[in-house]
Symmetry: C2
Subunit: 259 residues, 2 copies
Amino acid sequence: MTDPSDAPATVTAGMVIIGNEILSGRTQDLNVAFVAKELNAIGIQMLEVRVVPDITHEIVAAVNALRTKFDYVFTTGGIGPTHDDITAEAVAAAFGKEATYHPKSYAILEATMIRRGIEFTDARKRMALTPEGAEAIENELGVAPGFRIENVFVLAGVPLVAQAMFRAAAPLLRRGRTKRSRSIATRLAEGTIAAGLEAIQHAYAEADVGSYPFYNAPGGHGTTLVVRSFHESDLLGAGDAILKLISDLKGEALSDERS
Amino acid sequence: MTDPSDAPATVTAGMVIIGNEILSGRTQDLNVAFVAKELNAIGIQMLEVRVVPDITHEIVAAVNALRTKFDYVFTTGGIGPTHDDITAEAVAAAFGKEATYHPKSYAILEATMIRRGIEFTDARKRMALTPEGAEAIENELGVAPGFRIENVFVLAGVPLVAQAMFRAAAPLLRRGRTKRSRSIATRLAEGTIAAGLEAIQHAYAEADVGSYPFYNAPGGHGTTLVVRSFHESDLLGAGDAILKLISDLKGEALSDERS
């Protein structure tokens, strides 16, 4: 038995996607999947996402709901230089603070503009706005920094920039227990495997046993069974029980992968 | 002047994405963009999305928050035959109802199973579960129906199936005023165009004037300026003002598209 106090705790996160362009269908969000995977790899469980429009009180409500519910919140979108970029002010409002120019972000931006021979307009200065007390999150792309205030991390909306900012923020995050997964694919239909799978879920109550049908994949239809757990013993036990179930049902495991 | 009572009203929607597989990053959601675009085309504005895990009280809370806030709610995911498919029960609970077998859905499922020579197991019968009083939403793929209860539409998670169900549900929706959009792309940077763009937003207060940078696109970086409005006059006026702004800034409009 490991002393529970030595074990890393469960660490949780939520995400707020700020963008009319996602809600209108103009832009396909790619940031949720990226951030979810990265968090997962360092033992942080993403448990909720909200997509909200570019409206201050909606951003404030979503940030406040999730920052009190989870250990961390990541926002994407709305930190550029144009009038529709209102995330810094909205996140400041969520914390009851003013947004002001962050000295370090301002200096980075100014240096970037001088280097590129671009005028440092009032609009571009807006990219240095952060809630009072926030910390800048620089990024290797050399563009406007994101920022962190308490447990809220504010990232850009453009995926390449969001990814660079996330990588810069990751070392600031407390790592938790890592959930690992084992995925087993079969041609058996969900309805065929459901009863046996439910019994396996009951036997491994701390694991998440999921079932995901696939259609028109190369080679035809089928089901992927996924076991996710903090415990290696669940991946072994529930995974092997799934292999036996597939075999008992005269099916075949097409793949058996860990991640 | 048109009598305002003759004009179609603004119709709004929210969406609840049910799925651990989206929150873990295993699966890239494609349903938000699809539903958003389809709704947009029939004059329904999507104003919020929540992604929640396969946990009953989280689904109940999200459905209840959005069904009271918007005209319609669409859910995707969790309506298959396996133990992790809990959407029907959760949506029933959100309405204070029980989930029971829907006679028509049950009959469709049973006929499908007989036709395909598949056993109609208890697990497969689960796909006929709906809240009492719900209406089945059949689909051209001939698989388990989705359902509607009051203003909540419950669709499958697999995109092809969700799309078929949405198309079947669309005729049941009240159409609202259609927001149209005009998108103008330029190589000018956001920071260059920001001040002029803000003035245009102020001049056309009922339009949404958005600015979206693009990177590493064929031909290089730039910005897409988007005007969205219920009024054709805004698309003409604000759009032409953007063209003039680009020209005044010695830039060039790369494209000018309506949708």
